[in-house]
């Protein structure tokens, strides 16, 4: 089951430059913009994932960089020599005169050769205050400067963890504000695993939800996912990034919410096997000739059913037998959606609804409490805190963010 470790044209890759990550589809002779650098990607083709590459100036074009594989990863990173350090910051006055290099000097340095070590060393040599700084703040200074001029990229294969963190860092609203802890709990409280038929309504997580559920369902297993979405096409950035094998991709049935429900209510005979054939013939038989006349087309061969129609039918077949979980991650107010979709949830199974704000879930809580077939209703949110762990310098990270709210409940057999 091990996938290929070789980077190939057509692969979805995550390009990592220190803490920054970006999703990229690798094309032949393609460029990629990362930060203020435009990078020619061809040299990574045929190399392995996790390999590190150095950005090098391209001789004919100042703005374009090419990549060169770093054979010995050990030399990447800080090798700057520090001569002396101060005890504390009593003699450091912060004004604009500490750095004697001008911005133009630095730009020129960067254009002549992008080498973070060399640039940082120059910056240090031209800093009046650097040697007065404490060891700790020198380290911090170097880290900060290195980050700016860091010339190494690493190529990663997308995983749910990397994607969730990447989307959240770029713009939390693109994934409905779903933070990694939220996602992890949505999956566990909904009991998503390799078995069963799962139902998801998602309106705006860039495909992260369907990707995460399919990832938990796994390759070569029996589980399926019905992914309902409100648009013509579902969002699938993250889903495509995961590059699931075909067999697994097929077990995610993407259907439009309106059209699948219309099919479910108004076109029962397309998916229910045991409906008497007589009624089917009559209801179907009448409007057909009329339509043919209107179209005025010559002898028409039975047209191939469009894929969306087939998808609707296979989804309805599953819905008719009920699903083993229900997840709603919606931009819309959840009460109407849940009210409608709960009929498809098997008794004794879990449902989970996510919202970045609490109030819609409070409404939903009250609605569910009023139903006799719902128990164990829980509304929760998380406090997630990251730590800097360094010898003698361990503390919570300066910045933190707020996650969303999760409502989970169990449906009973009525």
């Amino acid at each position: 089951m091990e996938q290929s470790q070789e980077i190939q044209v057509g692969d979805q890759i995550i390009v990592q430059r220190q803490g920054y990550t970006k999703l990229h589809k690798l094309k032949k002779h393609g460029n990629m913009v990362i930060g203020k650098f435009t990078v020619q990607m061809d040299n990574i083709i045929g190399q392995k994932y996790f390999d590190t590459f150095q950005m090098k100036n391209y001789s004919q074009n100042n703005k374009l960089y090419i990549l060169e594989k770093v054979e010995d990863g050990k030399n990447v990173g800080n090798a700057v020599n520090i001569e002396t350090s101060g005890m504390d910051n009593r003699n450091i006055v912060s004004d604009e005169s500490a750095q004697t290099l001008t911005k133009d000097d630095i730009d020129e340095l960067q254009n002549s050769e992008l080498n973070s070590n060399a640039i940082v060393e120059k910056l240090i040599n031209n800093s009046k205050t650097f040697n007065m700084k404490t060891e700790y703040s020198q380290e911090k200074y170097i880290k900060k400067k290195e980050k700016k001029y860091f010339e190494y990229l690493q190529i990663r294969k997308p995983t749910i963890r990397l994607l969730t963190n990447m989307f959240y860092r770029q713009d939390p609203t693109k994934t409905l504000g779903i933070r990694i802890d939220d996602l992890s709990q949505i999956l566990t409280y909904a009991n998503i695993h390799s078995d069963g038929n799962h139902l998801l309504y998602d309106s705006g997580s860039s495909g992260l939800m369907s990707a995460a559920v399919m990832n938990a369902i796994g390759a070569n297993t029996s589980g399926t996912l019905i992914h309902m979405h409100p648009g013509n096409e579902c969002q699938k950035n993250a889903f495509l990034a995961m590059q699931f094998p075909e067999e697994q991709t097929h077990r995610c049935i993407n259907v439009n919410l309106y059209s699948v429900l219309r099919c479910f209510y108004q076109n029962k005979n397309s998916f229910v096997d045991n409906i008497c054939n007589d009624t089917e013939d009559k209801s179907e038989g009448e409007p057909e000739p009329k339509k043919a006349k209107l179209d005025g087309e010559p002898t028409q061969l039975t047209p191939k059913e469009p894929q969306w129609k087939l998808d609707n039918e296979s989804a309805c077949k599953i819905l008719n037998n009920k699903c083993d979980s229900l997840i709603v991650t919606a931009k819309e107010h959840p009460v109407n959606i849940v009210k409608e979709l709960l009929q498809f949830l098997q008794g004794g199974r879990q449902m989970v609804v996510f919202s970045v704000t609490k109030e819609p879930l409070q409404d939903l809580f009250i609605y569910l409490k009023g139903r006799l077939d719902i128990i164990a209703i829980k509304l929760s949110n998380n406090f997630l805190r990251n730590y800097q762990v360094l010898p003698e310098r361990t503390h919570p990270e300066m910045m933190m963010n707020t996650g969303g709210f999760i409502l989970s409940a169990v449906k009973l057999n009525s």
Binding site: N220, D324, R349, Q362, S380, L384
Partner: protein, 318 residues
């Protein structure tokens, strides 16, 4: 036998979750007979605040239905790892669902993964790990406490999960995870008093294409030592975090309103006695007290051998 896959009807021997209220949830076994403290066979009766439940009556009932008790009723549910976590018999401190969820997502565990866990403890995390790796994956779980491994092994057997898990009695800090597991694991989870001692063994056990590691420690000193050791052994993306969950009680509350408008005008003769007005408000109330710390979660990646910055031989010779 009720943990492997979705079920409709309770069979004899199934573990069943008895749900009474949000804070009264229990697990019972659908068996007519059980052993009492003296080892004698007696009728399996479970006492609840709402009356006794004869467990034999559960057999043949449908999961997710109501069950009548003498002084009320309850609901019977098929166990999930989450329900098991809140009802399991504690033999040690256990890891709860917010941490468990984070561990599984961050360790990038999916069906087919080979996972190592140490220690097994009460099996709270183990059940969730097994659900995540089924059907092709496998969990190797270790504990240095012999009785715990035996009890956990029996539990997995009873729950129908024995095929997905191997329980071993061993002190992994001293003896490692065993030669058989060299370069076999996708992920290693450590919940040990001295997790840093297990780091070198984790390096050996992780696949040559790399893998993820997690260490759960309540104390920051443990985290500090572990992080240093992880760095020494060439782990990357070392990250420490903690997750705390708050559960809200949603209620429609009535607040009395104050009206001071009348103070602006002189007193009039006819004093109208008005009813005190109330305003309804939908509120979500956090508990007055809740756990403020469970443990620090430290995650790290071991890159594939071609991208490792620390050579395995270098470490061995240290």
């Amino acid at each position: 036998m009720s943990f492997d896959g979705y079920k409709e009807v309770i069979n004899e021997g199934d573990t069943v979750i008895l749900y009474l209220t949000i804070s009264q949830v229990y697990n019972v076994k659908a068996e007519g007979k059980t052993l009492n403290k003296k080892g004698q066979q007696v009728e399996n009766i479970f006492q609840t605040p709402y009356g006794a439940l004869k467990c034999a009556e559960l057999i043949g009932k449908t999961y997710g239905t109501k069950i009548q008790l003498s002084k009320g009723w309850g609901y019977i549910l098929q166990p999930t790892p989450e329900l098991w976590t809140i009802t399991l018999p504690h033999r040690t401190q256990i890891i709860y669902t917010p941490d468990i969820s984070m561990i599984i997502l961050q360790l990038e565990i999916k069906p087919g993964s080979i996972v190592i866990e140490s220690g097994t403890g009460s099996g709270s995390l183990s059940h969730a790990l097994i659900r995540a790796i089924k059907p092709q994956g496998h969990l190797y779980t270790f504990d240095f406490h012999e009785l715990r491994t035996k009890t956990a092994g029996q539990e997995f057997q009873d729950h129908g999960l024995a095929n997905y898990v191997t329980v071993t009695h061993r002190d992994v800090c001293c003896n490692g995870f065993g030669e058989d597991l060299n370069e076999k694991a996708d992920a290693v989870f450590l919940d040990l008093p001295h997790p840093w001692l297990a780091v070198p063994h984790a390096v050996k056990a992780l696949k040559s294409i790399g893998g993820r590691l997690c260490s759960f420690s309540p104390c920051i000193e443990q985290v500090q030592k572990t992080c240093c050791e992880l760095k020494n052994f060439g782990f990357q993306e070392i990250q420490t975090l903690e997750v705390l969950q708050t559960q809200y009680n949603v209620q429609i509350r009535q607040f009395p309103t104050l009206d001071v408008e009348f103070l602006k005008y002189p007193k009039t003769e006819e004093v109208e006695k008005k009813d005190r007005e109330v305003q309804k408000c939908l509120t979500a109330i956090p508990p007055a007290q809740q756990p403020g710390h469970t443990g620090y979660l430290t995650f790290a990646s071991l890159y594939p051998i071609w991208a490792r910055t620390v050579n395995k031989n270098e470490v061995d010779s240290d």
